[in-house]
Symmetry: C2
Subunit: 284 residues, 2 copies
């Protein structure tokens, strides 16, 4: 079994993004990502540090807009609207889940799809569904596609099982795989274990995004299969692990490790989409 490591995919994307950022700078445009965070959630802080490092490598400027955890919905929305209108900001990343008194939908509605480089608005998601690509894909879903593309795994005609139907990964990944001519089946909590196993074993490509630690064992896997593990879970021993139990997935042909797989590519996609947003907004 070969590991599909995220690092080399992220590095390749970043190199290309650096070139695009350089071209923008020659035209007087500094591609800029705004990070909006409310509170000090440790996992937000950790992702933020990773994003800042990645931004530096990619030649993208990062501006941080940090609010107290007690920020009002009104203040947050007003802040986002200012960023929408600020021509020096090209992409906006909002850390979610937001503090519990804030209505997630109201925040998503406030964000301009043109700057929605993590694909959370209805405009972005609708664009993925219709193929108009008006906004941007959720970074994790696009990271899956970038990994397949980088390692030369063609989706056309392939049976692809997507486990999970969230708007962050399952549904957009299904649409993106379908756009590349895969034959996609979306499984979810109501599919039933035995059916899900059979569907997975019949698939050429498996995208696991159920969010259940190590649920995918050998009974889901067939020889030579390509398995993308999107899960980021903490197991009973307090260790980071994916949805796939790596030891029992030895039969798979290819597997993204956790950590170091899909997750390692998301910040690179974030910068790629910020550069793309800057290009679209400035026409450069």
């Amino acid at each position: 079994m070969e590991l599909l490591k995220g690092k080399e995919v992220a590095d390749a994307i970043t190199e290309t993004t650096r070139g695009r950022a350089g071209a923008l700078k020659e035209n007087g445009i500094l591609p800029t990502l705004a990070i909006v965070r409310a509170g000090e959630n440790p996992s937000d802080l950790s992702y933020e540090r990773g994003a800042e490092k990645r931004a530096e490598k990619a030649g993208i400027r990062v501006c941080k807009y940090i609010y107290e955890e007690t920020v009002s919905e009104e203040e947050l929305i007003s802040g986002i609207k200012k960023l929408n209108e600020d021509a020096s900001i090209h992409g906006i990343l909002i850390f979610r889940p937001l503090p519990k008194d804030i209505d997630d939908e109201a925040i998503r509605r406030a964000l301009a799809p043109e700057k929605d480089i993590d694909g959370i608005t209805d405009g972005s998601l609708g664009g993925i569904f219709t193929g108009s690509h008006r906004g941007f894909a959720p970074c994790t879903a696009r990271a899956c596609m970038e990994i397949l593309a980088h390692y030369g795994i063609d989706l056309a005609g392939k049976k692809t099982a997507v486990l999970g139907r969230s708007l962050v990964i399952g549904k957009p990944a299904a649409m993106m795989a379908m756009e590349q001519n895969a034959t996609v089946t979306v499984c979810h909590s109501k599919t039933g274990e035995e059916k899900m196993k059979a569907i997975c074993r019949e698939s050429d490509i498996l995208i696991a995004a159920m969010g259940r630690a190590a649920m995918i064992d050998e009974s889901y896997i067939r020889d030579g299969q390509v398995v993308l593990d999107v899960g980021i879970n903490v197991n009973e021993e307090g260790k980071l692990c994916g949805d796939v139990d790596a030891d029992s997935a030895a039969a798979a042909g290819f597997l993204t490790p956790v950590p170091g797989g899909v997750g390692a590519v998301t910040t690179a996609v974030l910068m790629q989409q910020t550069a793309e947003a800057a290009e679209r907004q400035t026409g450069k």
Copy 2:
């Protein structure tokens, strides 16, 4: 094999719609559908006649806005925008394909999603993808779901194969079936015949929307299966036929006939969605 006839589904929907229209009228609101047509395409005219008859039964008023086939894009867009703003119009149906010099996307962009009772705008389609249901479903896709609901066929946990990935039927029907907890596989022209046959035979429910006359024969069907035939094709003998070859689908448990199946339900859904649009717009 039992035929799932569209007429009784359409009649049941229409009766409910008539009740909703009556309640709106008691509140001084006359639920109104605007039909926008450019030219005299015979199939448009035939659908229009059916829609007008259905509207009468449902208690919905129809206003027709007929343009010459030579109408300019500008004039058509200006007409649609007037209808968007006209509070006495609740739903707008635009016959497509439009005359060839008119940009379909520009027309779809001009239409207000709130009045888009045939689900052609990005707003409507995005709402189906995200589950926000901001606009409306394409009538044919919703007709499929109404038929299943009427005949008491529960989708939860069922393997459902959708053949075709258009925005008119395949993709929205897949999302709607998934929302009802079906495990959905979308097949299309790049799936390959043998794979498609195997996927179809393994499915509990089959929604055929490939637009190929009588392509579904016994090799796609398994005993007891529910088959919805969305195709409306003309065969070599000039006869109307579906995507399913009805004679060789005898093993299926249930089949929608063509004509008299899904197609017979679409105008009823159109009126249902017009009433719903009127309710949403007026808060009555």
